[in-house]
């Protein structure tokens, strides 16, 4: 019996060592992943994820330290792209509550200080010194950086409006239709 | 003026089909064969049938209420009734009552509800029930009797029947072997098929059902009529029944030609055992068979070949239940590989090439 135990122990040690050596020398360089992840992020460095910028978030993602759902401006499309790249399933349930938003300038309050224009990473704000500013909705991805710098709180975030162009059918609620039907039968 | 809430997308027209109607038609198709068999095997069969069906309904109701699903509404879809019915038809007619109850528990609770209820089960519930019983209680499950039609001489009366079904008092003299079982036993005693065939009922009796067997095994002709009715009503298509019978017939016929002493003929295989019930009512179960026509053909041929293999080489004389269960396991993968080709795309899902026009 001792021979059996001994030989198994030796085998275990040898094979374990072999695996260890292999892991060290045949390791896949992980850096490319970081680059690829960075590619998927909006690149506007808004910092809403809690990291300084997109690169830092990408690095944290690559190390597995951050959740894929942190990028608010990127929306669901970005979350899914990140999740696919990392091979994880994204829990988008929490994210869905936050609808896409864009910035809106309350014209009466704007003093034309241009601070927001300098802050905007996508050049989505038009205007000049002492003149009223406006947001180009198509270029605004809702990072809300401008909201923070506005000295007169003239910028607010508003949900992207549902129009005939972007409306779509909601997911059918089978349970609900069932209940409705039964209610219908009751009276 | 607000008329309605537009909360449902088109279409605003629906066909008349429903799950309940479908199940009901299947039950209707089974009724002639069932009535004939209940007549053929008398009161004990009627009692066992009632107990089995009732047990299935009770177990279904219990499972539904445990799962928090609407009990009455779901029972009304008749699916548990059909499972119980088919299970009862696969039992020896004079079997004790507890066989039906145990079968019901396995069929409904284990095979159906532990997978998530109607539509979610991988295996045919009735066949799971039957198979569990066959493996666990081989003697009770293979004690066949010769028919004693209701009110005929020697047929058990109502009181006798109570003793048979609920008292476990099986009269000795009546038991008999089924044709498939007989041939198998004789073969094991090195008596060739040609010789043992002489003892089994003739083709006409086999077709009409005047022979020993479970309720679904006898009366091939009434089962066939029911199957044709379902085809006429478009509840089932020809693909599964024909391919099951075709697979079985071709396999049996080839081997019969090679060595008639060892292998029974294709015709014998077709009319004996539960071939017709299996081909028309068991293998065609929507939930556990493939959804595409091509898949159904593959599934059917697989069932047919497996039935023959099991009957011929395995330890059991009848193989319909095993064959169907084995093919049930393959259904998901058959479905995945037989998806139809989408319009304007090739099998891989790529757009078709644009043909050069003349």
């Amino acid at each position: 019996m001792w021979i059996a135990i001994g030989s198994l122990t030796v085998m275990g040690i040898v094979l374990g060592a072999l695996l260890g050596v292999a892991a060290k020398f045949l390791a896949v360089k992980e850096n490319p992943l970081e680059e690829e992840l960075k590619e998927l992020l909006p690149g506007s460095q808004c910092g809403q994820c809690g990291y300084v910028g997109c690169s830092q978030y990408a690095a944290a993602l690559a190390k597995g330290e951050a959740s894929v759902t942190l990028c608010t401006p990127g929306g669901k499309a970005t979350i899914e792209a990140l999740a696919k790249k990392l091979g994880v399933t994204a829990d988008t349930s929490e994210h869905e509550e936050k609808l896409p938003e864009h910035a809106f300038i309350v014209e009466d309050l704007c003093i034309g200080c241009t601070r927001c224009i300098r802050e905007c990473s996508t050049d989505a704000i038009m205007g000049a010194n002492k003149l009223m500013h406006t947001i180009i909705v198509d270029a605004c991805h809702g990072c809300a950086k401008c909201v923070k710098v506005c000295p007169t709180d003239a910028i607010v975030m508003v949900p992207v409006k549902v129009t005939l162009r972007n409306w779509h059918w909601p997911k059918p609620n089978i349970e609900q239709t069932h209940a409705e039907h039964q209610a219908g039968h009751a009276h | 003026m607000s008329i309605t809430i537009a909360n449902k997308s088109a279409p605003f027209a629906h066909g008349v089909s429903s799950v309940r109607k479908t199940m009901f038609l299947v039950l209707l198709a089974l009724t002639p064969a069932t009535l004939f068999n209940l007549y053929l095997f008398g009161w004990p069969a009627i009692m066992l049938f009632t107990v089995t069906v009732a047990a299935c309904l009770i177990v279904e109701a219990g499972c539904l209420s445990l799962a928090g699903k609407p009990v009455m509404a779901t029972l009304a879809d008749c699916s548990a009734l059909l499972t119980g019915w088919l299970l009862a038809m696969s039992l020896p007619p004079w079997a004790p009552w507890w066989l039906g109850v145990i079968g019901a528990v396995f069929a409904i609770a284990m095979a159906k509800h532990s997978f998530g209820g109607l539509g979610q089960n991988v295996f045919n519930p009735a066949m799971v029930g039957r198979t569990v019983l066959l493996i666990s209680f081989p003697v009770a499950m293979t004690t066949w009797i010769v028919p004693y039609p209701l009110f005929s001489a020697g047929a058990p009366g109502f009181i006798d029947a109570l003793a048979i079904t609920f008292g476990g008092q099986m009269p000795d003299a009546v038991s008999s072997a089924s044709a498939l079982g007989h041939i198998k036993t004789e073969l094991s005693r090195h008596i060739p098929v040609i010789q043992s065939m002489a003892d089994v009922p003739g083709l006409t009796d086999m077709l009409l059902g005047y022979r020993a067997g479970s309720m679904g095994e006898t009366s091939a002709i009434l089962i066939l009529a029911g199957g044709l009715f379902l085809m006429y009503k478009r509840i089932i298509s020809w693909h599964i029944p024909l391919s099951v019978m075709g697979g079985l017939f071709v396999m049996a016929s080839i081997f019969h030609l090679v060595d008639p002493a060892k292998f029974a003929s294709g015709t014998f295989h077709l009319v004996s055992g539960a071939t017709f019930l299996g081909a028309f009512f068991i293998a065609t179960d929507y939930v556990t068979s493939p959804v595409t026509r091509t898949g159904q053909l593959i599934f059917g041929v697989g069932c047919g070949v497996l039935i023959w293999l099991i009957r011929t080489f395995a330890g059991y004389p009848e193989g319909v239940a095993f064959a169907v269960l084995l093919m049930n396991a393959l259904t998901p993968i058959i479905d995945q590989y037989t998806r139809p080709r989408a319009f304007g795309r090739n099998r891989k899902g790529e757009p078709l090439p644009l043909e050069k026009r003349p």
Partner: protein
């Protein structure tokens, strides 16, 4: 002529007899018309009028803008009350920009463009220009601007103009009536379109459940050797463009290609009539025939309706509701859109207004899928609704996309046959909406990324330029008087920050 089979399909209860034998009746001009700027696929038209303007019938009141768009014309003479947001004929009940026109009761025509006297001598461009000017869109329901489809002849070699008179949707008979009452106009319009497209053949396909239309159209076409009328089998959805082309030519349009790539251009029969009116008389599209039907309508009719008439007026003209409808549908029952109310106007793509009772709809609560496979058997696109809906229900939209949900054109056959009454098409519409949203979001993210990158480069360049300027100025600043030291100091700070 030999026809080719198409896959799947269903045979619903057609109920066309409610309206098929009633002649087209004209709706008395309503006091107010609501003309949406967008009644078509593409960009909304640009308003040409303002509050208080007086317009004449047929006058252009909104001009097409961009490549895919269509103009709008005043359906009667009167005064523009406003350009405002009005409920759209859409399930969401959302509003859209709409011109509100008050009729002056005179119904006076504006000065119309000159008729094209010999269209067969005119070049394709002239005809397309006229069709575009007249605001004509596909009248089968999709409302795609027709002029763009007529331009296809310039890019591709075409063989057949296929005129779609299949009208496979239950209840609808407007095309049937138009064919029976205006056969010559349709044949003439078709020949003009074929001339513009450069197709030698015109095939008019009509489902065989309209024998009178087939007979009348055959007679009208008999004078012209290039025009054939073909009765096609009654099988929903025969009227789908791609499937009709397959039935007639036997060829399957590859995914992401057009039927024009096979040399076939499909137009609706009513569109041909509109082209005839525009070319021969200079009349723009200001009215259309709408089937008003369904079990809840007291007197079902085919109504010649000015564009912009409110659905309330239309229903009123047909005797109102006999019973309370379960649903009011814009279009046919299979592919139409439910309407949340009757406020919305009739638009160019409105083929029918159906008020359906619960009995006609015959919907039931959803129960578990029993995997019967009927949906696969009937799907004309060869998809697997059973699998796609299961994945969508579990929010695995990318798998559904892989299975081809974007190829589904929501014909409704699967939902129709489903014994478990699973809202399959609703699942697919939802999935298509979300997938389109994601695609839009992805495109926006791309754009944002480019913008952010451009900005980064610009800032870098600016900093670089500043640094260079500073370096150039430094010796000068050093030699300057110490009293002026404030500025350079600030610059150094800024430099440190950078």
């Amino acid at each position: 002529m030999k026809l080719f089979p198409i896959r799947g399909g269903i045979h619903p209860d057609y109920r066309k007899e409610l309206t098929s034998d009633k002649a087209i009746a004209a709706l008395p001009m309503p006091a107010t018309l609501y003309i949406p700027l967008q009644q078509h696929i593409g960009a909304p038209a640009e308003v040409l009028v303002k509050e208080g303007d007086m317009v004449k019938k047929g006058q252009m009141i909104a001009r097409n803008q961009g490549t895919v768009s269509a103009s709008q014309h005043a359906p009667t003479s009167g005064r523009i009350r406003a350009v405002a947001e009005v409920t759209a004929p859409h399930p969401s009940g959302l509003p859209q920009s709409t011109i509100i026109l008050e009729s002056d009761g005179k119904d006076e025509w504006a000065e119309l463009p000159e008729p094209i006297t010999d269209p067969f001598a005119a070049d394709a461009h002239t005809i397309n220009e006229r069709v575009s000017q007249s605001g004509i869109v596909g009248m089968g329901g999709a409302a795609f601007p027709s002029a763009i489809k007529l331009n296809l002849g310039e890019q591709k070699k075409l063989d057949i103009l296929l005129l779609n008179g299949a009208e496979c949707e239950p209840y609808l008979t407007c095309d049937d009536r138009v064919m029976r009452e205006y056969p010559d106009a349709i044949v003439d319009g078709a020949r003009i379109m074929a001339h513009a497209l450069g197709t030698p053949r015109v095939i008019i396909a009509i489902e065989q459940n309209k024998p009178q239309a087939i007979e009348i159209m055959t007679k009208a076409a008999s004078a012209f050797p290039g025009v054939e009328v073909i009765g096609v089998p009654v099988q929903y959805p025969m009227g789908s463009e791609r499937h009709l082309v397959q039935a007639i030519t036997g060829r399957e349009t590859p995914a992401r290609k057009l039927t024009a790539d096979l040399g076939v251009v499909v137009h609706n029969v009513s569109t041909a009539r509109a082209v005839h009116d525009a070319v021969r008389f200079g009349r723009p599209l200001v009215a259309r025939v709408v089937t008003v039907s369904g079990g809840a309508i007291r007197e079902p009719k085919n109504v010649l309706t000015p564009i912009g008439a409110s659905i309330t007026d239309l229903v009123g003209f047909c005797g109102g509701f006999a019973v309370r409808p379960e649903s009011v549908v814009n279009g046919g029952p299979m592919m139409g859109q439910p309407l949340p109310g009757l406020d919305a106007p009739v638009v160019k793509g409105t083929s029918g207004i159906l008020a359906l009772t619960a009995g006609e709809i015959n919907d039931n609560p959803t129960s578990a899928c029993i995997r019967c496979g009927s949906c696969i058997t009937v799907c004309p696109c060869g998809l697997s609704p059973v699998d796609m809906s299961a994945f969508i229900r579990k929010d695995k939209l990318e798998v559904a996309a892989k299975l081809g949900v974007m190829d589904c054109f929501s014909c409704g056959s699967c939902s129709y046959v489903c014994p478990s009454h699973i809202p399959l098409v609703h699942y697919f519409n939802y999935a298509k909406g979300v997938l389109n949203d994601l695609e839009r979001e992805r495109q926006k993210n791309e754009r944002i990324k480019t913008l952010a990158e451009v900005r980064t480069i610009r800032i870098e360049k600016a900093t670089e330029a500043k640094r260079a300027a500073l370096a150039a100025r430094k010796p000068a600043a050093d030699s300057a008087a110490p009293g002026n030291a404030g500025e350079p100091k600030a610059t150094t700070e800024e430099k440190a920050n950078a």
